[in-house]
């Protein structure tokens, strides 16, 4: 029900919305919760376990009951108290069937005596086979929150970083005052508040500050701060976690409140805010009271009733009763009476409470029962030994206030109990660099909060070397008096944790079953494990546990609050990490011409490389691959090899450095020559291989395997900076600066000479030569190296010329009966020659294993040399690189298959090795394999059995030298 002339809503802008299919109207400035209450909708959800009818309990992010699905974007578990109303919003209730008012599973409520704490653990024990197939689906169906929409999430999410001198968390009286003090002093300030409207409780109360209402003062403070260039206001932003070195996580709800957000507007943004200092002004949260049947729709916290009245102009009932144990609750009655709303009664548990007002007052009284099936109708009050009925459709309860200590616990800080306010306050210095001010540290008066905010800001700024002055207006200073009231005895259940349906009885039962530690009690009862993370229930449950175990509250303990303060969607935390954000695409300069030739792409790390280049009439990849292999062996082929890592190495000590990272020697390499190098890890295993060219006395270019480029770069920097810092040498990755193409085959030189300004011959450019060339007028580099075993070159030009050079090379090659070839053919060509890749140097093989032990120079030290000489790494019985050819009726070889003696049973203990690479060789007309076999080099000519259990293939193989084709290398030099 709306109340005239109250609230900060804009009555000139009505907004239509639907809830469970019914149409309602609210105003700009409403939350979904306030708009529902304005339309007298009290029943908004069903509880998790008993399917009890539930209403709105709070007016903030701690709401446990009013969780809804916003059907506009199929987003479940949205708290109606946080969701701002917009035109056309559509919401539906959760966890009920067939409808909210007639929920079939409300029979669970009748079963409540059997569904107490530990019920699941005790009941769904046998048979074990039922755990996953029967019990879990059953429980998941019955108990639940909103359902996930399993379609792709189309919303945009963003992440961002921000930096400041002072981060102020919470924009209530303390936060605004701290921000004003710091902002006026010129510090870089970020003020973050989870609400859309800054001001905190000032917007929900009727306090005066100076000559203004609290609401007006807050609005003026926000205007002043908005005008300051050094202050950034972040409304709708919840600081969710405190992390090391002044880093804070924060979730900004960017577009949840907009009816039709622009296409490029993210729904949420996850911020990482780095602050030199921070001030926590998060305020406090009001506690419910655990009295019998305290969960009916219409029963809410007293502060929520004041919020709905003063901020939203809504009376949550026609006849409202108030029940509390502290003076603060009385304000509710005064505000309601002043607004003309009927106050049914004020019930105060304290016999000596002083309450003035034109309404019934019961002191020293307690609420012992309530009635009303789908919403509160009557309250049974025990007063002076007598029971009396109070008619009310809303009950405002206040069990006192808990300072919002959560962030101070995120780095293991344990809050401290303070008897005077019956609540935990933050421990000192719980988070390095974080100070706490105002209600968050138990200062509950407006005057106290304003002064504490200013004082804390002055101290913090003083630490930062900034002089600031406190200029604090006058405000009310009502003493806060409270006496303990945790659980009211009586018939019927008294809820502590509304969302997870944990009652006083459950906590008592946990204690009786010896779950006396608060952490055990929590897990046994599930108290505090709902989406509100115990914000409403932790202290109450702790008090009940303390009582039944005969301990004081501080010695019973406190539960640990962990990040996030309130739920954060995974999509926001992982913003930018979906799809291509997770795996960006790297394209070579020949990507477009390759796509134009209909080449299917294969991923190599993040790179995309062509698998093969299909020609008309080719039905399978094998036909294309076989053709391309033949083409390279008989004519000429072009292949983009730009993805290999290229590291430019320069400096007077470059040669000495390379001698130390490579097993073989590079200081003896002549300028204008290339050498194959092998690199070990310090533990003696092979790290990577590749060719390195010497372009000058002090200038080398190293190539690495595509996938190992980053690792090798890091390794070179490590070896230089950490082990050989005195060597004068520098490295830079030039992988993306040079486009490089292999030109391979008998006609390779003819193709190149058609494009080079100065033609080459075998004398000017012999095998393993390198040098500067001009390619069609463009300066480039030429390397006579071969990964195919053919007469071959790699030609490199600056990347911007890559595409046109690829097109030119292909055109020249095609004129000679050749053309481009892809990864499949490249792989077959290198297997035919027994060249290793990371299939073979996979991190568990040594130079000895791949037959390259002679490449480890005896004349010098190098990385990995000492450890590679360990007896176990040069044992003849190690698995050594061999070639494999089918030798029986079955002709297929499969990479990953294991090798066995022909007569042995194909079980793990009999495995003598495995196959690493396989390809069909059109040159030799059979499958060829590379693999590792125990003592393999001494077993050439023997037969072994390859078995692939997954594919059910068993092939008899002949063991042979890994170099299948042209072992003398005559074609290379031709």
């Amino acid at each position: 029900m709306r109340v005239k002339d109250k609230g900060l809503i804009n009555r000139a802008v009505p907004l239509r919305f639907t809830f469970d299919g019914r149409h309602y109207e609210g105003f700009q400035g409403d939350t979904l919760a306030s708009a529902l209450l304005a339309n007298d909708v009290r029943l908004v959800g069903r509880s998790f376990k008993y399917h009890r009818p539930r209403g709105i309990l709070t007016a903030g992010s701690e709401e446990p009951n009013a969780l809804m699905t916003i059907t506009d974007r199929a987003e479940p578990n949205v708290r109606a108290t946080v969701q701002e109303l917009y035109q056309g919003l559509s919401a539906k209730s959760q966890n009920n069937w067939p409808s909210l008012a007639r929920d079939a599973l409300s029979v669970n409520d009748l079963m409540a005596p059997f569904l107490s704490a530990g019920f699941y653990y005790k009941t769904f024990m046998w048979p074990r086979a039922f755990w996953e197939r029967v019990y879990e689906p059953l429980i998941r169906r019955a108990a639940g929150l909103g359902a996930l929409d399993k379609t792709h999430n189309p919303d945009l999410y963003e992440k961002a970083y921000a930096f400041c001198d002072v981060l102020i968390i919470g924009a209530g009286p303390a936060g605004l005052m701290a921000a004003l003090t710091a902002g006026r002093a010129g510090a870089r300030v970020i003020l973050a508040d989870e609400d859309s409207l800054m001001g905190g409780r000032l917007n929900s109360e009727t306090y005066q500050i100076g000559d203004h209402t609290g609401q007006d003062w807050a609005a003026a403070a926000v205007s002043e701060l908005t005008a300051m260039d050094n202050v950034r206001l972040m409304p709708r932003t919840t600081v969710t976690g405190a992390y090391d070195q002044g880093t804070y996580g924060a979730l900004e709800r960017v577009a949840h409140h907009i009816a039709k957000p622009a296409d490029d507007l993210p729904l949420e943004c996850f911020w990482r805010i780095v602050a030199k200092r921070a001030i926590l002004c998060a305020g406090s949260l009001e506690r419910p009271i655990a009295f019998p049947m305290n969960d009916r729709p219409g029963i809410m916290t007293a502060s929520a009733v004041r919020s709905y009245l003063n901020r939203y102009g809504v009376a949550p009932g026609k006849s409202i009763a108030i029940y509390g144990n502290n003076d603060n609750a009385h304000q509710t009655a005064h505000d309601l009476a002043a607004a003309g709303v009927k106050v049914a009664a004020v019930i105060d548990s304290r016999a000596d409470a002083q309450v003035q007002g034109d309404f019934p007052v019961y002191t020293g009284a307690e609420v012992i029962n309530t009635t009303g099936r789908l919403g509160l109708e009557e309250i049974l009050v025990r007063h002076n030994g007598e029971n009396l009925m109070v008619n009310a459709d809303c009950l405002a309860m206040s069990g006192g206030w808990n300072p919002t200590v959560h962030l101070t616990c995120h780095m293991n800080g344990r809050p401290v109990w303070r008897d005077g306010i019956l609540a935990f306050v933050p421990a000192d210095d719980a988070i390095p660099g974080l100070s706490v001010a105002g209600a968050a540290r138990g200062i509950f008066s407006t005057r106290g909060c304003l002064q504490d905010g200013a004082k804390t800001a002055v101290q913090v700024l003083d630490d930062l070397g900034v002089k600031a002055q406190a200029d604090v207006p006058e405000a009310e200073e009502t003493p806060y008096q409270i006496s303990p009231l945790w659980a009211v005895p009586g018939k019927g259940r008294a809820w502590l944790d509304f969302q997870n349906d944990v009652t006083v009885k459950d906590v008592k039962q946990a204690a009786a079953e010896n779950f006396r530690s608060v952490e055990h009690m929590k897990r046994y009862t599930t108290q505090g494990m709902a989406t509100d993370q115990g914000k409403n229930s932790n202290v109450g449950a702790l008090a009940v546990l303390a009582d039944v175990t005969g301990r004081a509250i501080p010695e019973t303990g406190t539960t640990t609050f962990r990040p996030p303060f309130s739920p954060v969607s995974i999509a926001a935390m992982g913003a930018g990490g979906q799809g291509k954000g997770f795996a960006p695409e790297r394209f070579t300069t020949s990507h477009l011409p390759s796509i134009q030739r209909a080449a299917p792409m294969i991923e190599a790390g993040l790179w995309y490389r062509p698998s093969y280049f299909p020609m008309p009439g080719e039905q399978t990849w094998r036909e294309s691959c076989d053709r391309e292999v033949n083409m390279v062996r008989t004519k000429v082929g072009i292949c983009d090899v730009s993805t290999l890592g290229k590291i430019d190495i320069q400096g007077p000590d470059a040669a000495e450095f390379l001698d130390f990272v490579y097993t073989n020697t590079f200081s003896t390499l002549k300028v204008g020559r290339v050498r194959y190098g092998l690199m070990l890890r310090e533990d003696g295993y092979v790290m990577d291989d590749g060719t390195t060219a010497r372009l000058g006395d002090h200038h080398y270019v190293m190539t690495t395997t595509t996938a190992a480029a980053g690792q090798v770069m890091r390794h070179l920097e490590f070896v230089h900076q950490c082990l050989k810092p005195k060597l004068n040498v520098r490295f830079i990755s030039v992988t993306e600066q040079w486009a490089q193409f292999a030109v391979a085959g008998p006609r390779a030189r003819d193709v190149l000479n058609a494009l080079l300004d100065d033609p080459i011959d075998n004398d000017s450019f012999p095998f393993m030569a390198c040098g500067q060339v001009k390619v069609a007028g463009t300066p480039g580099r030429l390397f006579r190296i071969s990964f195919s075993g053919e007469h071959a070159y790699e030609v490199a030009v600056p990347a911007r010329y890559g595409e046109s050079l690829f097109r030119l090379l292909c055109a020249q090659a095609e004129a000679m009966g050749g053309g481009p070839y892809g990864m499949e053919a490249l792989n077959v060509l290198r297997i035919e020659k027994g060249f290793v890749t990371h299939s073979e140097i996979h991190g568990r093989t040594t130079a000895f294993d791949i037959g390259a032990e002679r490449m480890v120079s005896a004349k010098k030290d190098c990385i990995g040399k000492t450890m590679a000489a360990r007896p176990g790494l040069i044992d003849d019985d190690r698995e050594q690189l061999v070639g494999l050819k089918p030798a029986g009726a079955v002709k297929q070889l499969i990479a990953g298959g294991h090798l066995f003696a022909p007569g042995a049973e194909a079980v793990r203990v009999n495995s003598q090795g495995y196959v690493t690479s396989v390809g069909y060789s059109p040159t030799l007309d059979c499958y060829l394999g590379l693999g590792f076999l125990k003592n393999g080099r001494a077993r050439h000519g023997e037969r072994v059995k390859m078995v692939d259990h997954l594919k059910g293939v068993e092939t008899l193989c002949e063991v042979c030298d890994p170099v299948f084709f042209d072992p003398e290398g005559g074609r290379l030099r031709g």
């Binding site: 992390y243 090391d244 880093t247 990482r272 490590f718 900076q721 950490c722």
Partner: protein, 87 residues
């Protein structure tokens, strides 16, 4: 977590690659014997408290950095270029 790169200043830890204990700086001589090499390559302490380890400013300037920090309270006490620490 924030790490101060001696060259670039204070940076988010996401810019750094973590290597492990700064033991890696003290490479034994080739003839130091199996025990020294085993210690160097394989054996690491796992302290609850102060530790010195190596980080690589991979997304920044490419400096290897020795970071002295506390594994329990996460305080970073000092950072130093590895090439200085190695000398």
């Amino acid at each position: 977590m924030r790490i101060t790169c001696p060259i670039c200043g204070e940076r988010d830890r996401r810019e750094f690659y973590y290597q492990g204990a700064a033991v890696a700086l003290d490479r034994p001589a080739p003839d130091a014997g199996p025990q020294a090499w085993d210690d160097y390559v394989h054996l690491r302490d796992n302290p609850a408290g102060r530790t010195r380890d190596l980080w690589f400013h991979e997304m920044g300037c490419g400096a290897w950095i020795v970071v002295e920090r506390d594994t329990v309270i996460h305080e970073v006490y000092s950072t130093e270029l590895a090439e200085k620490a190695a000398r």
